[in-house]
Every structure is written in C-alpha cells, then in structure tokens.
Subunit: 152 residues, 2 copies
DNA sequence: ATCCAAATTTAGCCTTTGCTAAACTTTAAC
DNA sequence: GTTAAAGTTTAGCAAAGGCTAAATTTGGAT
C-alpha cells in the first residue's frame, strides 16, 4: 500500500494498465476477425477438394446450424470476401482468396510447428485451430524458422 | 466429383467433417471460458500487487468500461469464482484462486516459451495473452519441457 | 411433366459481452 | 458534520453469433 500526505492511496500504475489493456484489446479484436478467416479458409478448402462450397457442408464442418452459415455469409459478402447467388454455391472474391491463402499458410506453420515440437497429430490439429489467429507475424516467423532447423 | 447410380453427388466426408467441426467447437467453447479466467487472473494479480482489487482498476487493465466489469462480476459470482459486497473490493473464492493460479501458470509457461523461442518481450506479452487459452495440457507440457532444455 | 427429398433461406428468438448516461455510495478534505 | 470528487451500480441499448421452426427453391427420379 502507498501513502501520500498521510492518505492511503492505490498505487497508480497508468503505464502498466495501458500495456496490459493493449493485450486484451488485441485478443478481443482477433476474435472478431478469426471467424471470417475460418469461413473463407474452409470455403477455399471445399472448393479445392470438391469443386464447390455449399452452405450445408460449411455448416457441417464448422459444427454450426445451417441458418448460422447463411447469416454469416451475408456479412462476409458485405465485407467483400465472398459472393453468392441465392441457392447456389459459395464463391470467394480475390480478397477472399487472399485471406484464405494467408490463413492456410499460418495454419500450416502453426500445426507443423506443434508437430515438430513433438505434439501428437490429434492435439496439434485441435490446438492449431485455436492458436492460429493469435500469433503475430514475428512469432510465426520464429515458428517457421524453428521447423526449418534440422535438429534441436 | 463422385457419381453414384449415375447421379452426381458431393463426396460425403462424415469423418473429416466430424474431425474438423470438433476443433471449431472446442475453440468456440474456449472463448466462453477464457474471459472468466482473464478476470480472476487479473483480480488475483491486483490483490497480490495492491492488497485489493477494485472494479475500476479491473476495467482499466482489461480495457473495458466500468459497467462491463460490474456485469461480468455478477456472472463470476454466480459461477462461484468471486464474492463482493456492494461498493467494496472484489474477493476471490477458493475456486477462483485455483482458476487464477492455473491461469497464471499457463500464462507464464506460454510467455516464457515464446521468449525462449527468441520472440521479443513486447510480442511475447501480446501473443501469450491470446494463445494462453487455446493450448492443451499436452502442448503446455511440451512448452515447459522445451524451456527447461539448456540449449537448442 | 410432375413430384418429392434435400438444400437453402427467412423469421424470430436467445445469450454474451460490449457501451453510455444517470443514479447512488463512499470517503477524503474542509 | 458537510460536501464534492471518485468509485460503483443500475438501466437501457447494440452488435455478434448461436439456435429452431417454417417457408421456399432446386433438381434427380419417376
């Protein structure tokens, strides 16, 4: 406890508070964007894998209801990431493809990194999905560098 | 594309879909619980640091409005993690302390791991906050093991 | 050409987690 | 003791992301 003029006060820590809130703010911001990335990443995967991406399959793979996907696709369309005619397959815009590719790149690096670290395939798959969106470029580079090493 | 009885069908991939949705479901579940952990972790930190945790300081450090903290504290109280008399400092229950300690342990391991990997202090601080909640026990153990190594 | 099942969309609801503004308490200063 | 500032709570609103049930469209089978 700190005293000032004989009065008990809380130690003011503006700098610490600012630094700390910065991390929490970024994590919250990450959460808003990660859903969009998950969607376009999955849509890209489906197009590559099956020739087209249908809403039902997206819902199935994300583990959400059909209606949820429809609603989200409207938002992704507003953000310029996907296009879709009613009752037709989902298309990615150029921007959508770019985001998807970037997401896949990040995802692969993280998953590969975990595997290199000796994590089981099952856990690496599960953890990388959660971690993927919270890793800065600096950390991502370090992970890639680490995987490139011959041994450690 | 796959054909069956001369009819074009989407290749059914129930196993793949199930596996994939599992990861997304877990990530969504993690998101619900991580806020609670952030709160108790921060409250524990404030108690250790200043002798008590006040709502205003929690709001400042998390970067949210005061009212948001009040609302969340009600939920944490319902979950048996904190107790609080109106207009008084926030207390942690036994369960709250346990969750906080566990969170701090995880946080420290992740941050330390990033530092060991050669990440800058600034980035390690920011990234570890986001990553912390998405790391399984298996991965956490591997990270701790990695830090314990003398060299790599 | 018609019909039916599957896919898709719409409508309406819920919970979570934010916010601001206004009201109420506490507490230090006088 | 009063008072005013700081801290806390209440009230009411918004956006995001879920859900179910009902309506609509599509397209292969007949």
């Amino acid at each position: 406890m700190v005293y000032c003029n004989n009065r008990k006060i809380m130690a003011t820590t503006p700098r610490k508070a600012k630094l700390q809130s910065q991390a929490f703010r970024r994590t919250r911001a990450d959460h808003s964007s990660e859903l969009a990335e998950d969607y376009v990443e999955l849509i890209a995967e489906l197009i590559d894998e099956k020739g087209e991406a249908r809403g039902t399959e997206v819902a199935l793979r994300l583990g959400v209801a059909n209606a949820t996907v429809v609603k989200m696709l409207k938002k992704l369309n507003d953000r310029g990431l996907v296009t879709q005619e009613p009752y037709r397959a989902i298309m990615l815009t150029g921007e959508g493809w770019a985001l998807a590719e970037n997401g896949r790149r990040r995802h692969d690096i993280v998953e590969n990194f975990l595997l290199t670290l000796g994590i089981s395939a099952e856990t690496a798959r599960l953890d990388s999905e959660g971690i993927e969106h919270h890793v800065s470029d600096e950390t991502l580079k370090a992970m890639a560098r680490f995987c490139a090493r011959k041994s450690w």
